[in-house]
């Protein structure tokens, strides 16, 4: 490997966008990261730290000396600053806050009072809200002469006398209207309001569903206290999907940027749980060990039954874990969907049992064995599709994350039921 040239590296990323600077730093080896970040943060855009991934942010922020970190945070938008400071321990947090200007500090403290994944925490408090009795000309004059509110913005929110949002006007629409036009004549009233305690998943759904660019956030009295913008939401929504995908694959965290040992540790928990499941299935097989010895063909075929059930169950589970996340399941369609899954399992179970029955018959030249595996596959597929929908919904009702827990519970069911059904049917009809 050629020697790393720090100076050259910094020169090469200097002109990049902050998001790309963050990516580049994240992909460096640990030692080089820390050597660069200890002294060179002045060469980066201050908001590169806002673009760091959640998984690596903690490690990277702790490489930056506190004094430099404070200088970076001063330049951040409120939502970014809050996101970053939310990860710090109280002691460090207090230290950093004490070095910020009083206005920024107060705003950060206010936001930190809300739950980690709520609108109150994620929103920006720098926004424009206007009364609807103004004309376009008066609004423009006010914007030109006042320093209140953000420099750049996309929507202007209209509030009533109680500061309750009643509509919005895209700023482009203001630009296209004559000065004498009253705001109340160009207002859009189909406004989507976000409550300060609303959770990110729900906010992301609202933005996506209605194609929003920004939306007002209100407190418990419905008074406007901030806005959320689409760029934050895109990021959150993306992370949510990625999270679910990872969890379905048996990962608690995204370890792409972590070292081998840390990754191994975090993956071990899942594998340990799966070991228990696998042992449970083996215990079932063990019950039939005498019969297996009499007809070893059963041992040869038994993994097929369990594997088919596992796969069919995973298909169903994948559909419903996502349907829960996107709020497509409700009490009115639940029963209908369960019936549908049972039908799917039965149809595919029938087709696969025919195929496998024929194969087993030609392979082992035994009609009864062929019938046993056929029958086992048929009932296993019906069962697998049923538990594939029931498990995620039940787990979700228990307030456990269905993406995380469904897989392991499903495998336990399909493995145990798969071996048990085939072995019991086979030993029964073969009179073993």
């Amino acid at each position: 490997m050629q020697k790393f040239n720090k100076k050259e590296y910094i020169e090469s990323i200097k002109s990049l966008h902050s998001a790309d600077q963050a990516d580049s730093i994240e992909s460096l080896p640990y030692e080089i990261q820390s050597s660069i970040l200890r002294t060179n943060t002045k060469n980066f855009h201050p908001d590169f730290i806002a673009y760091l991934r959640e998984e690596t942010r903690d490690d990277i922020l702790h490489m930056i000396p506190n004094k430099q970190l404070v200088n970076l945070i001063k330049y951040l938008d409120l939502d970014d600053a809050v996101e970053i400071l939310g990860d710090f321990e109280t002691k460090e947090l207090v230290q950093i806050l004490s070095k910020l200007g009083s206005q920024q500090r107060e705003r950060i403290e206010e936001s930190l009072q809300y739950d980690e994944n709520s609108a109150g925490r994620l929103m920006n408090r720098d926004y424009l809200s206007i009364k609807s009795n103004l004309t376009v000309g008066e609004l423009i004059d006010q914007l030109r002469n006042s320093r209140r509110g953000p420099k750049d913005f996309y929507n202007i929110f209209i509030v009533d006398d109680q500061n309750i949002p009643i509509g919005y006007i895209p700023s482009g629409r203001v630009l296209r209207s004559k000065r004498s036009k009253k705001l109340k004549d160009i207002i859009y009233k189909d406004i989507h309001i976000i409550k300060s305690d609303e959770k990110i998943e729900d906010i992301a759904y609202t933005f996506r569903q209605y194609g929003l660019v920004s939306a007002p956030v209100v407190n418990l009295d419905n008074k406007m206290i901030g806005i959320m913008t689409v760029d934050d939401v895109v990021e959150i929504d993306h992370e949510e999907s990625e999270d679910d995908m990872r969890k379905l694959g048996g990962l608690f965290v995204n370890d792409f940027y972590k070292g081998a040992f840390t990754s191994a540790t975090s993956r071990f928990i899942w594998l340990g749980l799966n070991l228990l499941t696998a042992i449970l299935a083996s215990l079932v097989i063990d019950i039939y060990s005498d019969q297996l010895q009499q007809m070893i063909a059963i041992a040869v075929l038994m993994p097929i039954v369990a594997s088919m059930g596992g796969n069919a169950g995973t298909q169903a589970m994948t559909i419903y874990v996502r349907a829960i996340a996107t709020k497509d399941i409700n009490n009115s369609n639940y029963i209908k969907l369960v019936v549908k899954e049972f039908l799917i399992g039965s149809i595919n179970g029938f087709a696969l049992s025919l195929i496998m029955g024929l194969i087993a018959y030609y392979w082992f030249d035994s009609l009864v064995l062929a019938f046993a595996i056929s029958f086992a596959i048929l009932i296993n597929l019906g069962f697998a599709c049923l538990v594939g929908i029931i498990i995620p919904i039940t787990i979700n009702k228990m307030k456990i994350d269905p993406a995380l827990a469904s897989g392991i519970v499903l495998t336990t069911f399909t493995d145990v039921f798969g071996f048990l059904s085939f072995l019991s049917i086979a030993t029964y009809i073969l009179n073993l």
Copy 2:
């Protein structure tokens, strides 16, 4: 079930947002959908059809009589109209196009010349581009007096004399600037330009990475021909993630809204492939059937080895399928990551082999059997993590979708290798 009241239903969804109307219609049973759509589309917002899911759109659009469909399409934005018409057969398409106004028709035809998932197809051709030599006042006057361009917009794109985009100004920023201010003094030059042949995955990445609200699309000569806006991209990005998640779960399409029989058919292909894999694994077991008969404990334990390998491989595969999608893997870090995976597999393999060795020893009271399963688990986990990274990357290089194909190839490897390694090790050291 109580009888469905069509009139009441239409009344109840009349005032909903088009996106919610689309959701509501999608969740109805087939017969009711078709009975409502044949005659009542006038009661819906015309753009409800733009909000239909891809999976159901085709079915639903074909329930609407062509004449009504034309009336709905007339109200759609270009990008929505193009998306919908792109699904039609040539004959029907020509028929519908012939009934549209000439301006809309020409624009749709232009867009349809681009590839299905490219910016040229997805973009809107109604946008604002301005020369930078104007002042804020001149721009506002021009916007007020001209009908060119969209009614609502967020960014104003600045182009040079060749119509090449050189920057943008958020419309809010224009509102905050004095009339005498020159546009070239308030322009942002860090503009992200999209090529007309760029694919949606790449566009979504750009929007997310840089938090964009809209971006200009240029043709091969770098001249501006349209814009893409974040609401379309959020939707696309979301669908891409959902697609990958589904495919990893063994689903070719999202069958949530499909009937049981259609769902069963689409899931069958995957299960059929898995049946082949399972049979392959059974063939391996069959080779050792004599030895299994001599020591049935091997048959009892063998699913554990295959299952552990499968799970560890899936963890690795999940990470890298996503890393490929988000462009986090490149030639420079590929070898490093393969080494890391091998380490992870070895670390967890070592831990799990110790645990399982102890369990097997106490269970079957056989030190050699305990050693055999320990050793098999150790090499299986190393192997599983290795193929977990190599398979998706190799499949991706072969231009096959890694989310779709990785799972089945991985299971084949981990199953066959799992049974083969354990059975061969066990029969060798047990002298069977």
